[in-house]
């Protein structure tokens, strides 16, 4: 069976993960947003990569498994970039067209301008 691979020292990896967890909690306490983002999300990525590589054995798995998983993430990114222009801008009024009213307001208020 192909799982007769050498096993790394899992306890050591677990210890590193725990340490990273500690950093990710302490980091945000500084209250600086950039530090929060890096320690919270950056470390989450590192932890996930470590769990993936050593616990899920992606480091010794066939290369394309890694591509498979990554492709799924790329599609999610695509969804984000296609959708966010709408959802991030939506004031819950996507179907209201403000331009006629604006034009109206401008013609009305034209005299009072300057």
């Amino acid at each position: 069976m192909s799982q007769e691979h050498a096993h790394p020292n899992y306890i050591k990896i677990w210890a590193i993960l725990t340490f990273l967890l500690f950093v990710s909690i302490v980091g945000p306490m500084a209250g600086i947003q950039a530090v929060t983002l890096i320690t919270a999300f950056g470390i989450a990525v590192v932890k996930a990569a470590m769990v993936g590589a050593y616990f899920m054995h992606l480091n010794i798995e066939k290369r394309y498994v890694w591509y498979m998983l990554f492709t799924a993430l790329i599609f999610l990114g695509l969804f984000f970039f296609g959708t966010s222009p709408d959802v991030l801008k939506a004031e819950g009024t996507n179907w209201v067209n403000p331009s006629p009213e604006q034009a109206h307001a401008e013609t009305d208020g034209g005299g009072s301008h300057h």
Partner: protein, 192 residues
């Protein structure tokens, strides 16, 4: 009629055992499910800057403790896999149940958290932040429960020395559930 596995199951043109290959595909399909939910949440979160205030009402301590619990249970299940491939059945069985125990602790902490939040008036309906919070952690919790049930079933086989590769497969799934939590933790607890 007893079920006999077809010869197809034992074939391995890719050199990855069929069970493990399928587990990877399960993980892929789960990535897009959780990912879809998380992407929706992130978009709302970026849009509604006032959600930071709500996020500060989740308990970072409980979240951090649960992260630790899941990381440790991940360690146990990978040790179970190591033991199983060395055919140390007793040890494998024990580690599987340690993992299930980790899942239990996780769920207990989670339910205390939920109770606490609900009693402070933060329910599923308070606003969309809390709706996302309950739906996402709830979906994750269901995955934890599913993982525990499957592990319990697998442990019976392990005791008899059957289907040992399954320990590895459930491990992959469990690590995935762990990784999902690694991201839910900063998303719902740390970022304020």
């Amino acid at each position: 009629m007893a079920f006999t596995a077809p010869l197809a199951t034992a074939r391995s043109a890719t050199d990855i055992p069929t069970g493990r290959l399928a587990t990877w595909w399960v993980v892929v399909s789960e990535i897009v499910i959780f990912g879809g939910l998380v992407v929706c949440y992130i978009m709302f979160r970026l849009h509604h800057t006032d959600w930071a205030e709500h996020a500060s009402h989740t308990s970072t301590t409980a979240g951090a403790f649960n992260t630790f619990v899941l990381l440790t249970s991940s360690l146990f299940i990978v040790l179970a896999h190591q033991a199983a491939s060395a055919r140390d059945l007793k040890k494998a069985f024990r580690y599987i149940w340690f993992t299930i125990g980790g899942g239990c602790i996780f769920l207990v902490v989670k339910s205390i958290e939920w109770t606490n939040e609900i009693s402070h008036g933060y329910t599923l309906f308070t606003n969309n932040f809390w709706s996302f919070y309950y739906v996402t952690t709830g979906l994750h919790g269901l995955h934890v429960i599913a993982g525990m049930v499957i592990m319990a079933i697998i442990s019976i086989g392990v005791k008899k020395g059957e289907h040992l590769p399954r320990v590895e497969y459930i491990g992959i799934y469990w690590h995935f559930v762990d990784i999902v939590w690694l991201f839910l933790f900063p998303l719902f607890y740390i970022a304020k």
